[in-house]
Each structure stands twice: as C-alpha cells, then as structure tokens.
C-alpha cells in the first residue's frame, strides 16, 4: 500500500524486484543506482552475506518528480532469491505496490523461474493481493549470455512458461550491461502510478 501524505504532498511507492536466486535483482538496482545517480539523494542500502548474496533486501529510494502537485518517491526493494529465505521474501513484500519479476533466461534455470513465480503468487495471497491484479512486469534477464555461448531459453519459451496466463508487459534485458533495465523500471513505475491513481479516484 502506497502511503500518501496530504500535508507534505508526498506519495511513497514501493516496488519490489522478485525472482529466483542469482537472477540479477540486485544487479538491476545497482545499474539504476549508477545510471540515475543525479536523481538519487541517498546511498543504496544492501544487506548481504559475505558471499555477496542478498541476505535481507536491497533498498534504493529516488524521487520521480511531481504528478498533480504530489512528490512521487519511488522505493525500490529486492528480495533474497535463495529458496530457504522465503520468510524474508514475505516480509519485504508487505505493502508492495508493484512487482518486477526477474526471470533468469539460462536454460538450466527454467524450473527455478516457474517455482519462484508460483511462490510470488502464494506470498501475495498471504497479504490478500493477487498476482493477476497487482502491477507486474516480467523481465527476461541475461540475454547477453547468448553471445558468450551459454545456452539460454528463447523468449517465446520463457513467455509461454511465465506469462501465458498473466499477460503482463514483459521484456528481454541484460542487467549487467544495462540493456532494458531503465525500460523495465519505466514500465513498472507507470503501471504502478496508474494503478494508485485508479484506486484513489
């Protein structure tokens, strides 16, 4: 649930990057943090293990400017991807307004993507949210690996696996090079802001 402050005219929007372990959620945020440094006033917060894997969440707040006189503060979160950390993932999803599902395009990760998406569905239900209603964008990450000879799934297959029922906006991306990272962010922000506007009207 976004929080709206009528006194200071501020809307806080929570967007969570969700997906299986090592799919590139943190890399997405790191790219945004570098690329849009001028718009970001604070440092990115990362709670990670010694092995550099996300333990709790990453957090990156930035200002998007104004809509109808209201300052929009976007707050980006990631979740830990490892299977055993579902309790933590659930905590981070509390009060979420929009979700980016980051899928790993590597062939060997096919099943993990599907499992993770199913778990997102269950975790949202725990907060009485529906994966079919919440603003959602799917990103097929790591498409650059094709050029390095790593077998990756064709987008058509990924789409069939993950987006055949949801039918949400989806795009190929490469978080490490930055390809479509900003485009993903733009899509989820606009979907989320529209959905908040609809709820309010």
């Amino acid at each position: 649930m976004s929080f709206i402050n009528l006194k200071d005219k501020v809307v806080q929007v929570k967007i969570v990057y969700y997906g299986p372990g090592r799919c590139g959620k943190t890399t997405n945020l790191e790219y945004v943090n570098r690329k849009f440094r001028d718009q970001i006033q604070s440092e990115m917060v990362s709670l990670k293990t010694h092995g550099d894997r996300t333990l709790f969440f990453d957090f990156l707040p930035f200002d998007m400017g104004q809509i109808k006189g209201y300052d929009i503060k976007i707050q980006l979160y990631t979740v830990p991807g490892q299977v055993k950390y579902n309790a933590t993932r659930k905590l981070v999803l509390k009060g979420v307004d929009g979700v980016v599902f980051v899928a790993d395009a590597m062939e060997k990760q096919r099943e993990k993507n599907i499992r993770s998406l199913n778990q997102l569905h269950e975790n949202l239900q725990a907060y009485k949210e529906s994966i079919f209603k919440i603003p959602l964008v799917i990103q097929y990450n790591k498409v650059d690996l094709k050029d390095h000879g790593v077998p990756i799934l064709p987008t058509a297959v990924l789409r069939k696996d993950l987006n055949s029922r949801l039918k949400v906006p989806d795009l190929e991306a490469s978080a490490i090079t930055g390809y479509n990272v900003a485009a993903t962010l733009k899509k989820i922000i606009s979907a989320t802001v529209v959905s908040i506007q609809k709820k309010l009207l």
Binding site: M1, S2, F3, I4, N5, L6, K7, Q12, K14, Q41, S42, E43, V45, L47, F56, F57, F59, P61, K73, Q75, Y77, A87, L91, V92, K94, G95, V96
Partner: protein, 134 residues
C-alpha cells in the same frame, strides 16, 4: 483500517504531540513509520540530518525480524527495542500492529525518562489515529 491516507489535520496533531513530548525533551529525531517501511511523519530538532527513508526501510525490516524471533521463543511480540551506542541511541516502540515510533537521542537523556514520554506520546497518537479509522 485505512492507514494509507492521513489527513493534514491529523498529521499536524501528531507532529505537535511529537514536538511536545519528545523533541522538547531533547530527542534528535522522531519518525513514525508503518510496517511496510513507509514514513508517516518525521520530526527533528533542526540539527540532525538523517537519511530517514533508508532508515525507515531498515527499521521496518529490523522490527519484522525481531517479531519473527519473538514468535520463535513463544512470545506474541517484543513491543519495544533499544539500541545503545556511544553517542547516540535508538528506541523503537510499537504504536499498534501497523505503526512504529522511532526515537533517536544522544547521551544526555535517560532511557527511563524517554520511555515514560514515549508511552504518553503513543497514548495521544492512538487517540488521533483512531478517529481516522473509525
């Protein structure tokens, strides 16, 4: 309870309570957040410059973690937390199931005195808050 929107009037009342009960006492910064990590309001003494947005996200995560620990040892909740540092301290106290009051203060204030004032502030905030949800 519709806690997503708070009226200007309510926020002003809450800000006054925070200023009277805590800032006047010498607390550096007081923040009210919800459990999702959103800031409801933040007040400071005009000198401290904390990154309150990151702080809110971490505090909500911290409190949620401690809540889960409470359940593991068979407690319904740990309703307050206190972190002590050399020069500054942080005190967390639950207002209700959705809201958290965080006070950051230096070494000049005794914890006991702060806690008394936090309890009074929370009582008053609850009355303001309840009128919004009923």
């Amino acid at each position: 309870m519709n806690y997503g929107i708070v009226s200007q009037e309510q926020l002003e009342q809450i800000d006054t309570i925070l200023a009277d009960k805590l800032i006047k006492l010498g607390v550096d910064c007081v923040i009210i957040i919800d459990m999702a990590g959103n800031i409801i309001t933040a007040k400071d003494n005009g000198e401290s410059k904390y990154d309150v947005y990151s702080f809110a996200a971490l505090a909500a995560g911290n409190f949620a973690t401690v809540d889960a620990m409470a359940k593991l040892v068979g407690e319904a909740e740990f309703s307050l937390l206190f972190h002590k540092g050399q020069d500054s301290n942080i005190h967390f106290s639950k207002i209700d199931d959705e809201l958290l009051l965080i006070s950051m203060f230096g070494k000049d204030i005794s914890l006991g005195f702060l806690r008394l004032n936090v309890v009074e502030a929370i009582e008053q905030i609850k009355t303001v808050w309840d009128t919004s949800s009923s």
